[in-house]
């Protein structure tokens, strides 16, 4: 068993109105960052997980996302990185 640090990105699914993302994009535009086409605001989670391998830690994190961390109706998630903790 080793300890892995798993980073997870969760964002509102494309096509679902994200008022926070829109407010952020509007503010960026007001500051002159006109190159920003779209902003989406989600969550970033960092989990320290004990697992036999990085793959096992990733698989375990996916199960956690499916069961609790992301809402499959409205959100997409991505395992953004797995490193030795």
């Amino acid at each position: 068993m080793s300890r892995f640090r798993v980073a997870i990105h969760i964002v509102p699914r494309k096509g679902i109105l994200d008022p926070q993302g829109k407010a952020v994009a509007d503010a960026l535009h007001a500051l002159g960052f006109s190159a920003v086409a779209e902003a989406r605001v989600g969550r970033h989670l960092v989990l320290d997980v004990d697992a036999a391998s990085a793959d096992a830690a990733t698989a375990s994190a996916r199960t956690m996302c499916d069961k609790l961390l992301a809402n499959p109706v409205t959100e997409d998630y991505e395992i953004a990185g797995v490193v030795a903790a």
């Binding site: 008022p19 926070q20 809402n71 109706v73 409205t74």
Partner: protein, 230 residues
């Protein structure tokens, strides 16, 4: 008829719900704790409003795994009635007792105000004391009330008459201006496919007496008694 009102850490409308069904309706109520494993003979379960577990992660996401929720899910799967109000609606969706999800209000503002609801389906066990098209004045108080569901699911809800309440203006029209949170199709409340689970963002338990501003919520609870008596 005995109502079981669940208190989660962060619930704050549990006492209102108890008073609505005891003093308002004249029925029995039992207070249930989120760590309980037993509904104590409750015929109807009320998931009350509030901010269970601080709304951490997503509103209702953590409450859904409370020990008592396993009993509530089993009760609902047996056809037992469940009412989820506000945070309770969010919990019921997270527990898959109802389809869809509730997201941040499109205004990004917490909305605490009276709204007008149109009764869309008056033949459910929760609405049989209303008439279809009747307008109700009921308060809301939420920041995450924007009902969302995928297009197919929305069609199924609408086709099956599972949309029970809609936000409307004083003329009874479901306009964008009457929609306090950006819910799809101005949806304020839905029932499950089996008809035994109701979820709604407005608070009928806060509209029981005229001195509260409205007593339009009482008939929702009276409907349940009428359903049992029928």
């Amino acid at each position: 008829m005995k109502f079981g009102v669940i208190t989660f850490p962060g619930s704050n409308c549990d006492e209102d719900a108890v008073l609505a069904v005891t003093e308002g309706l004249g029925a029995d109520a039992v207070r249930l704790w989120h760590k309980d494993h037993d509904l104590q003979g409750a015929d109807v379960v009320i998931l009350p409003g509030g901010f269970s577990y601080g709304d951490y992660l997503r509103a209702g996401a953590i409450a859904r795994f409370s020990p008592i929720m396993q009993e509530v899910i089993a009760h609902a799967n047996r056809g037992g009635p469940v009412i989820g109000i506000c945070n309770g609606f969010q919990i019921a969706c997270e527990a898959h007792l109802l389809p869809g999800a509730l997201l941040r209000n499109d205004s990004l503002q917490f909305r605490s105000q009276e709204v007008i609801l149109r009764v869309e389906n008056a033949s459910t066990r929760f609405t049989n004391r209303y008439t279809a098209g009747q307008l109700l004045r009921i308060p809301i108080a939420h920041g995450d009330g924007r009902f969302t569901i995928e297009a197919d699911g929305l069609r199924r809800l609408e086709d099956a008459g599972q949309v029970v309440f809609r936000y409307v203006d004083s003329k009874g029209n479901a306009t964008a201006g009457a929609n306090p949170n950006g819910s799809l199709d101005n949806i304020a409340g839905i029932v499950s496919a089996g008809g035994n689970v109701l979820g709604m963002m407005p608070h009928p338990e806060r509209a029981i007496y005229q001195w509260l501003g409205s007593r339009d919520g009482l008939a929702l609870f009276e409907s349940m008694l009428a359903h049992v008596a029928a």
